[in-house]
Amino acid sequence: MNGNNGKEWSGKTRGGSFGYRFFIVLIDRLGVRFAYVFLAFVVIYFIPFAPKATVASWWYARNILKKSRFRSSVFLFANYYRFGQTLIDKVAVSAGKKDRYEFVFDESYPRFLEMLNQENGAIMVSAHVGNWEIGAPFFDKYGKKMHVAMLDAEYRKIKKMLEQHSENRNYNVLPLDETDGLSNIFRAKAILDRREFICFQGDRFLGNTQTAEVGFLGKTARFPVGPFLLASRLRVPVIFYFSMREQGAKYKFYFQMARIESTETGKSGEPGTESAVKTGTSSGIKPEILLLEQYVRALEDIVRKYPHQWFNYYRFWKGN
């Protein structure tokens, strides 16, 4: 769970490694089903004892989903419970229990693989919805070339645990140093130059990051521009990726290829193709903003479809 003083995300993930370790042991000894049952008690604890996250979730239910007070109370429990379930599932899959889950892919999956096979670098942009990490085992051979961008503070905190309890981590981590943006840029560029992939969380940023305000679910929110600026300048494809939990032990993976309009050809295409240009678009909107807006629309569609799987527990929208 992520939160700070409730204003912006601090770059650190809430919850100590004790919580993770406890659930790892619980899943190992008593199984995933028992962990789900136990989770209900953890959620009841969290509602009063994680007040800032609770306020953020309540605000989301009341102001974005427009639920009544009663329905918002029910939502609060369901939202925390779903979040806990995704954490349990992540631990279970990384411990080798992936056979107890069903995984389905949307119709864009072949196009996604085709794009990865082009031997281009690519940028994947996900969000703190659903359970993006659970898809990592299915990236298969591509996982070795995949670098998940993670803020250094967050990475340091979970690094040891990831190393101890994952059979094989299916991806690499690109640690982002919040005090050294310059090095981050060069590391990211080096990965893309090697024709490998970077996965960003497009809904998180720290205070000094370049952002743009975009309408999101009826209110204005700030999103980081960085991943999209990198993609447009280095002309690499951008793929929006979401992995969402469905009823039963089932996950569905969604992929959407971003498109960009060209001033030079008057045609539209995917970044990384001939029609993706860095100079701008015929609509006059900067390419990075065009990409960002597509990402926000894709995220909006996903959150509308899976409202309980919105896991940003801080003041996400402007003015909330």
Partner: protein, 83 residues
């Protein structure tokens, strides 16, 4: 290409890429402030260098650069290394 030509080429490229008046680019002016760049915008600078001068700078290179003069000297030294 002699250094005067190199400086002219650099200035033209920077003015066009970062949409600043070429008159504001002077050897003693601060590079990042004059071009209004933050670290993310340096991607543009890297791409510009790769496309026009055919080498890839590293992050530490930029830490040494403060003024346009530093930048001219840096590009010149890298191009000399390549020859």
């Amino acid at each position: 290409m002699d250094k005067t030509e190199l400086i002219k080429l650099i200035n033209e490229n920077l003015a066009e890429e970062f949409e600043v008046d070429i008159e504001t680019i002077t050897p003693e002016a601060h590079l990042m402030e004059t071009l209004d760049l933050d670290s993310l915008d340096l991607v543009d600078m890297v791409v510009l260098i790769e496309q026009n001068f055919h080498f890839t700078p590293k992050a530490p290179d930029f830490r040494e650069i403060s003024t346009f003069q530093d930048f001219y000297d840096f590009v010149e030294s890298k191009m000399n290394e390549r020859q």
